[in-house]
């Protein structure tokens, strides 16, 4: 008998025996293992007599997973974290601006002039690449350095599985896996990480749902955009003392809207292209552990903040060059940027945004972090504003949210544009890293395309509807007799 024949004989014998044993072999085996485990444990473990000693944990769990308090506590914790982030990031952001942009940038300029760098190279390197990178660092670093450690402390304490526990019923109703709550939370940090985390979901159907809908979790590249726009347009509606609170509420509103869209899309997918049964699973609620504060801060600053920042910088550098080029290379009388903006403007205005925002989202596909700098720079270049920043198409210096606001209103922005930008920031294609990760995880262009295009289409539809609704409300008084 040859080797191959022997192999086949073994497989044939296995098939025969499997037939004899019936189809509950798995259960029988598991039972056997459990019995062994129980015997060994009984031999070695001495548990205290009487009542179990998990009272502290179960007391907390009774509150944080209760029907009444579970959701308010979840939203409240998120609100507190966001509020601390928004309030706390302001000051260090200002300092970084002063340092990197007010001080170092002119220094670099004069150095370049001193060594006689050609004007175009000076523009490309210092006004393009350097300013884009400096902008990203100043905007991103402070909120991330506050948000990540706070979130990690909560994670270390053991709260995240309780979130999954609270939301399990909702996921089930949406036809998705309860563990999606965990991957969704990961997405709040980074969507690419959230997509990789879906590997904890066994069923391919539910895993795909989790992958496609992960983009509805606002990632750290988008939190700063949300926070800035909310501060400028929504926080400004109320007295300064309340603006931090109101801006946080607006950002939470967007984040929760993202959760709502995630459920809606999961439900839609599970009723159409990804039909199937919801699988059950056991989720262990781990004991609460006192978070190790310093270690957590250290690892979250090193592992998350700096790595995410590094990624943003790497993407910002070439993007800065592209921004400078499209804003400075002329075709005919006007720059490339102006051509594209003019072309995109009708569509942008139609959905309550503008051509600048759409172009910025195209340039910023590699990283959501650079959307705001790109928008500001393009707005200035497009308007030819004098006095603020520079007309030569570079990222300019703005040391406060209000100065940013004045540029944007000069660009024709209204409260509606602000709200629509926040919505579009939530609902648009994932960044290129996430798209690539989705492809690697699903191995399918079909699902990658769906996951990339679905949110953009939803974003355009939602901003369009909001705009129509907005105009309807504003027109009402005029119609009245």
């Amino acid at each position: 008998m040859t080797e191959a024949e022997k192999d086949n004989e073994i497989l044939a014998r296995a098939a025969g025996l499997r037939w004899q044993l019936g189809d509950n072999f798995h259960d029988k085996l598991t039972e056997g293992i459990y019995t062994d485990a129980a015997q060994i444990a009984a031999h070695a473990v001495e548990t205290p007599a009487g009542e179990r000693h998990y009272t502290f944990d179960s007391k907390i769990d009774k509150i944080v997973t209760s029907k009444t308090w579970g959701f308010p506590i979840m939203i409240g914790l998120l609100a507190v974290i966001l509020w601390i982030t928004i309030e706390g990031a302001n000051y260090p952001s200002g300092m970084l601006f002063t340092l990197l942009i007010d001080t170092v940038h002119p220094l670099l300029k004069s150095l370049a002039a001193h060594i006689g760098l050609p004007l175009w190279l000076d523009g490309l390197l210092i006004d393009g690449i350097y300013l884009a990178v400096a902008w990203v660092v100043a905007v991103m670093l402070p909120p991330m350095a506050i948000f990540f450690p706070l979130f990690t402390l909560l994670e270390d304490f053991g709260y995240l599985p309780r979130v999954a526990f609270n939301m399990d019923a909702l996921f089930k109703k949406a036809g998705a896996h309860g563990k999606q709550a965990l991957t969704m939370s990961m997405g709040w940090g980074c969507n690419a990480a959230g997509v990789i985390a879906t590997r904890i979901i066994d069923s391919p159907r539910e895993r795909l749902i989790a992958i496609i809908t992960n983009n509805f979790s606002l990632c750290n590249g988008r939190w700063p955009t949300q926070i800035l726009i909310a501060t400028i347009f929504i926080g400004a509606l109320v007295p300064a003392s309340l603006s931090g609170l109101v801006a946080s509420a607006a950002v939470i509103g967007i984040a929760l809207l993202g959760v709502a869209f995630m459920f809606l899309t999961s439900w839609g997918l599970s009723k159409t292209v990804l039909k199937g049964e919801v699988s059950t699973f056991t989720l262990e609620l781990p004991p609460y552990r006192p978070p190790r504060i310093w270690q957590t801060i250290y690892t979250s600053v090193i592992d998350r903040t700096l790595i995410v920042l590094w990624r943003a910088v790497i993407f910002a550098a070439p993007a800065g060059a592209v921004i400078w080029l499209v804003a400075n290379v002329h075709i005919g009388d006007i720059t490339i940027a102006n051509h594209v903006i003019d072309f995109l403007d009708p569509l942008g205005v139609f959905v309550g945004l503008n051509g600048v925002i759409l172009l910025a989202y195209i340039i910023a596909i590699p990283a959501n972090e650079i959307v705001i700098p790109t928008i500001l720079m393009l707005t200035v270049a497009n308007l030819g504003l004098i006095g603020v920043g520079d007309t030569s198409g570079k990222l300019f210096e703005l040391d406060s949210a209000m100065a940013t606001g004045s540029i944007l209103s000069a660009g024709g922005w209204t409260l509606l544009t602000g709200i629509n930008l926040m919505l579009f920031s939530l609902l648009h294609n994932p960044c290129s890293t996430t798209i690539y990760t989705i492809y690697k995880e699903t191995n399918s262009w079909k699902w990658t395309t769906l996951a990339s295009l679905l949110p953009v289409i939803m974003g355009l539809v939602v901003t369009f509807l909001v705009t129509q609704f907005w105009h309807l409300i504003w027109l009402m008084p005029e119609v009245k007799p």
């Binding site: 086949n8 044993l21 444990a41």
Partner: protein
């Protein structure tokens, strides 16, 4: 920590031998896999052994990809692989396959099974499955401080005797028991300790008979196969990966020279 405490002078505490190498894993002498249920502090044990700072989190399923690191002990260089945390190795979800394939086909020199001391019975389920696959293992009885807080006492000698492998109580968060764990890993890797791993006993008669028959056939075809029983389990369940491994003679590679 001061250098002159009784602990640090003890022969067990091989600070000189323990040179943390971080990610440098070139020219390793032994490969160690880290397996365990989710949320038993595997990543914390990983960090304690390698001196790396992998992100740890208090939720099940945090580690979905393999993390690698290295350390050296007693002038042996070790490569440590942190496998995804799983409750069993019997299903086909991605994380379980990653863990299972590594222990089976990666043939680590030692597999450290990290268990939560206060949830021992539930954790033994995975432990017993690992012991069906490999006969070189160490049980890391982690979170022993939490167990103590809940007044749970564990007779580690009885446990070691029943499982047939070294058992080391640890609190990886505060580095307690890590020197002992390193010694146990080294002892098993070098063969100073020979494990006699527990094999699942409570199988029904027909199942036991079928497993024996199939395992016998496998051993005849692949003499010296260390995990014929476990492979028989998988074949009886119709595992396609293992079926393929029989067909393409991959099982031959599992035989230790």
């Amino acid at each position: 920590m001061p250098d002159n405490t009784a602990c640090n002078n003890c022969a067990l505490h091989n600070t000189a031998g323990l040179k943390k190498l971080g990610i440098d894993t070139a020219n390793v002498d032994y490969v160690v896999a880290l397996a365990g249920n989710p949320n038993t502090g595997k990543s914390t044990v990983f960090n304690a052994l390698t001196g790396m700072r992998q992100h740890t989190g208090n939720w099940p399923g945090k580690t979905v990809v393999r993390a690698e690191g290295g350390f050296s002990y007693n002038s042996h260089k070790y490569k440590l692989i942190d496998l995804p945390g799983t409750y069993s190795l019997l299903s086909t979800s991605q994380d379980e396959e990653v863990a299972r394939n590594f222990i089976l086909f990666g043939r680590p020199d030692v597999t450290v099974i990290v268990v939560d001391a206060s949830r021992l019975e539930r954790n033994l389920n995975l432990t017993l499955q690992v012991l069906e696959i490999t006969d070189k293992a160490v049980l890391c009885l982690n979170l022993i401080d939490e167990a103590a807080r809940h007044h749970i006492k564990i007779d580690q000698r009885a446990l070691a005797r029943d499982l047939g492998i070294p058992v080391v109580p640890t609190t990886a968060r505060s580095q307690q028991g890590i020197p002992e764990l390193l010694k146990a890993i080294d002892d098993v890797a070098t063969g100073a300790i020979i494990c006699r791993p527990h094999k699942v006993k409570n199988l029904s008669k027909p199942v036991e008979k079928a497993v024996k028959q199939l395992a016998g056939a496998l051993e005849q075809q692949f003499p010296g196969l260390p995990n014929s029983r476990w492979l028989a389990f998988r074949l009886l369940e119709g595992d396609s990966r293992i079926t393929a491994a029989v067909k393409n003679n991959e099982l031959k590679e599992l035989v230790r020279p």
